[in-house]
Symmetry: C2
Subunit: 232 residues, 2 copies
């Protein structure tokens, strides 16, 4: 049941490229875990020292100031890797946005396994480099874009990422219609805005006919070209 052979992300996560024998060994040190929406997997500053692969669902990575301001610094989709192996413990919380299933490892076990399996370390490196790229382009958004630009960029990114990780019915190309894994407050925390500004920008786009909002968390993109133009 909880075996890697049947895992849906077996060929997309960092486990891809491991042979059967290695998979068995990895299987031995990991275990599946379910996290329900809103439940934390890792607390900021905690030293539970675990890492994980996302099998299913969406999780947020956040940091906060002492006075409670929050910034979402990353979003993990199926096949993404979570946690901080090797040395440092990074101060970020991980909380499930939707019901999720993950494959967790103690950091020590994982570190040891990774160091003796270069192919896995390589996969992890590629993934980390890609995440760094994405994070840097998000810095551009946070530092230099206006609220309308932020919202447009966000919707386009959602449309792409939700499609590519198979979270929506449509299988090819960006999703035209999708369900956000975020509340309005969480959208605000991703974009460095307030909930009110997010709401206002959403309704503005709706009134202009660029998007439709059939339900609280549902978005349909009616005019992708406009969004691209607005994204700046």
């Amino acid at each position: 049941m909880s075996s890697c052979e049947t895992c849906v992300v077996r060929n997309r996560a960092i486990c891809a490229g491991l042979d059967n024998q290695e998979i068995v060994a990895l299987n031995a040190i990991g275990r599946r875990r379910s996290v329900s929406a809103g439940e934390p997997l890792i607390w900021e500053d905690d030293d539970s020292l675990l890492v994980a692969n996302v099998i299913d669902g969406v999780l947020k990575l956040t940091t906060s100031t002492e006075d409670g301001r929050e910034q979402i610094v990353g979003v993990a989709y199926p096949s993404d890797f979570i946690g901080r192996p090797f040395g440092q413990t990074s101060k970020a919380s991980v909380v499930a946005l939707t019901d999720a299933r993950v494959c967790v490892f103690s950091r020590n076990d994982f570190d040891r396994f990774a160091r003796s399996h270069p192919e896995l370390e390589h996969k992890l490196l590629e993934r980390t480099l890609a995440e760094l790229d994405r994070t840097r382009s998000w810095m551009m958004l946070l530092g230099r874009k206006t609220a309308p630009e932020k919202i447009a960029t966000f919707l386009l990114e959602m449309s792409d990422r939700l499609a590519e990780t198979g979270c929506t019915p449509i299988t090819r190309g960006p999703a035209k219609r999708f369900t956000l894994p975020f509340s309005r407050q969480q959208v605000a925390d991703v974009l460095g805005l307030t909930i009110e500004t997010v709401s206002r920008q959403f309704t503005k786009l709706k009134n202009e006919g660029v998007i439709d909002l059939p339900a609280r968390r549902d978005v349909e993109i009616l005019n992708r070209a406009s969004l691209v133009a607005l994204a700046g």
Copy 2:
């Protein structure tokens, strides 16, 4: 002359941990290059496809919007690794802030070498993970901090990083006095502010006696505790 044996970052860069034979091989595919202040090493979107180690000096990593807004998404100090190995070419420019020396490799050569030297890939992975941590905490700053908080955080980070990379006379602990490798405009581009706001916040801190500004790019921290409190 340009050999790795005499390299000042030999034991701090990703080359640390390679034995002499490996170093010779790495030496064979790399070459030293000088970049003077203001000169680019990599253009956004270019496919020159090179990666590099910083030997000496400071460089900035930037992305820009079409209409010319710029965001500095990373700063590379001696022993830091620059560029995007494996697959993707990331769209960021690299420009020297000070006169700098780097050790460059064609990406293909480097990729091939790295894949056959797990120890080097591991070092690169650790470095990339650390950079991702730093980048994420910078997202918090860009998305959620006020201008005074940004400036205070920036000065503290400068004081730490310039000390640890040996860019200032003081060798132990954070630097009390240092020379910024940034112009005011570049500080603005790091913090997601305008040059005017940066200037005003600097003079405000000076008037309050928290810092002194003996010269254009020089900063002396008079009251570190205040800065920490202001950093939020």
